[in-house]
């Protein structure tokens, strides 16, 4: 029963979604199924939060390597959750002034806004910005013209790297913009590579992925592939 009900739910939802796409009269069924999906996606946040708590509390309890970081994570997680859910320091919505909890959780000046503005935002931006350093290091250590394919890849990379900046325009500025050789200007070469070679390759991959997804989805709907249910063991 533990496996049978999820199997039936999956099959029903999958068939309804397919039918509602092709038969306009059944469009409402697909809409309802999508709403259930959205509600489940909201609940997934609670599951995710519970999972974080479970994993890191266990780490702290077992005092495994790096458990101190788990303590910091748990503290930040619970503090953010507390000020966000509790709407600490938030004023009531003007429409419902008698309901103290009716205000917006991220009101400017509230503790949650402060955490977002001065902790979350700079930290995530820093993490993303650090990619530039790793890309530079990887460029020095990994890209080698070992064979013809690698040379083609490097050549294309150079054109795109230059074409995405003013250097591309400046380097081939001597080629007339309306002349027969205009296609050789680096900025035009970049557009050509992206719109022809890249699009051709990407479309082939996208079609392949779509066929793969269709086949896998049919297996899941028909209950042939049950891997999403887990092993059933704790």
């Amino acid at each position: 029963m533990k496996r049978l009900i999820p199997l039936w739910l999956t099959a029903t939802a999958g068939i309804v979604m397919i039918v509602s796409y092709f038969i306009p009269r059944t469009q409402g069924w697909g809409e309802d199924t999508s709403i259930w999906f959205d509600i489940l996606a909201g609940i997934a946040f609670i599951l995710g939060g519970g999972n974080i708590l479970k994993i890191h509390l266990r780490k702290v309890s077992d005092k495994t390597k790096g458990w101190g970081y788990s303590v910091i994570l748990l503290f930040c997680f619970l503090a953010t959750l507390f000020v966000g859910l509790g709407k600490i320091g938030v004023h009531p919505n003007t429409q419902y002034p008698d309901h103290s909890w009716s205000g917006v959780y991220n009101e400017v000046g509230s503790p949650f806004w402060w955490l977002y503005e001065y902790a979350f935002k700079p930290l995530t931006a820093t993490m993303f910005a650090m990619l530039a350093f790793y890309i530079a290091s990887a460029a020095f250590r990994a890209f080698r013209a070992k064979n013809v394919e690698a040379i083609l890849l490097l050549g294309t990379a150079f054109i795109i790297l230059l074409g995405r900046t003013f250097a591309g325009v400046w380097l081939t500025d001597w080629i007339a913009d309306d002349g027969p050789l205009r296609g050789l200007r680096i900025e035009n070469l970049t557009v050509y590579i992206m719109q022809v070679f890249n699009t051709a390759g990407s479309r082939a991959i996208v079609i392949g992925i779509a066929l793969g997804i269709a086949s896998t989805s049919m297996k899941v709907i028909l209950g042939v592939d049950r891997s999403y249910l887990g092993s059933g063991e704790e």
């Binding site: 460029a139 490097l154 900046t165 699009t199 479309r203």
Partner: protein
């Protein structure tokens, strides 16, 4: 001419370095055992110096940026635009300039703006940035609920799109601030996003532009039109949808700078006004991008010089 001399000098220096790597064992040893922190320092300088020096270069808009601009230009005052801001602070550096330019352009055209996000729970803060920095400061006559609305975040990724294409109020029954959509004047005549004239999406990943293409534009090609701006890594994956499902696309900072150029030329330069700094962020970030890209090319070239020197010495 001066620039070409610099370029020639640069190439001569690179060639000299190549000769040194081949001939001098000391240079060869230093470069093969180079600590990566030196590379980090070079990248830091390549980005920091142009930022501090506010280095900018002229922009030449490509066809895709012009297509985005033309789609918005073609709208009439009072037309409805769904501003789907699907990004978060991690990609704010790359995407906020185009979000700012989109907001300015749409408000300048007198369009009605419906903001929402399906990417991340911190998406509403990105929307707030656009509202605070552009609408409230530059367009004080824009009234909340009449000219723009912030519908906030809904979880469910493409599931949200699948619902709002036929019933917007089923999921968005309140705005970001908890006000019922029944009390928001500009929501009265909108049942679903097929009644919206254009979707402008700024996207950092899943769910984003691809999902808007697949679940909104593709099933309703007659009634839903979409233009987008996305991160650099996403843009090659979106080219397959151009131009049928996606008439225009701004790729990363370069796309933002091109779009800024088009918008600023029409609404500031043509009217003899100075362009405020907040509408030049894309162009200002092209300076660091140029130097960083040249540095990466130089690093690849030097690394290959070392590789061929190693091959010659039989140590590769």
């Amino acid at each position: 001419m001066g620039m070409w001399l610099w370029f020639l000098l640069f190439m001569i220096l690179l060639a000299l370095l190549g000769v040194l790597i081949h001939r001098s064992p000391t240079v060869y040893r230093v470069l093969t055992t180079l600590d990566r922190r030196w590379i980090f320092l070079l990248m830091f300088l390549a980005v920091a110096i142009p930022i501090l020096g506010q280095l900018t270069f002229p922009e030449k808009p490509t066809g895709l940026a012009k297509a985005v601009f033309d789609e918005i230009e073609a709208l009439e005052p009072g037309d409805k635009v769904l501003m789907a801001w699907d990004y978060d602070p991690a990609s704010e550096g790359e995407l906020q300039p185009m979000a700012t330019a989109f907001t300015f352009h749409c408000a300048k055209k007198g369009l009605k703006l419906y903001y929402m996000t399906i990417f991340s729970p911190v998406g509403p803060q990105m929307i707030d940035d656009s509202i605070e920095n552009v609408l409230k400061t530059e367009f004080p006559h824009y009234e909340y609920g009449v000219d723009y609305v912030n519908l906030g975040y809904k979880s469910g990724q493409e599931g949200v799109i699948k619902v709002i294409v036929s019933n917007l109020k089923e999921l968005f029954n309140t705005d970001q601030y908890g006000t019922s959509v029944r009390d928001i004047p500009m929501m009265q005549d909108v049942e679903n996003i097929q009644q919206i004239d254009l979707i402008v999406n700024v996207s950092a990943g899943y769910a984003g532009t691809k999902e808007w293409v697949l679940f909104a534009v593709t099933p309703y090609p007659e009634s839903i039109r979409l233009v987008a701006g996305c991160t650099g890594v996403m843009s090659p994956l979106l080219y397959p949808y151009i131009p049928e499902q996606l008439p225009g696309l701004l790729g990363a900072i370069k796309g933002a700078a091109e779009y800024e150029k088009l918008v600023n030329d029409k609404y500031f330069t043509a009217e003899g006004m100075e362009v405020p700094r907040k509408y030049l962020k894309g162009m200002l970030r092209m300076g660091p991008q140029l130097i960083a890209h040249v540095l990466i090319i130089v690093l690849i070239v030097v690394a290959n010089m070392i590789y061929f020197a190693e091959k010659r010495r039989g140590t590769a």
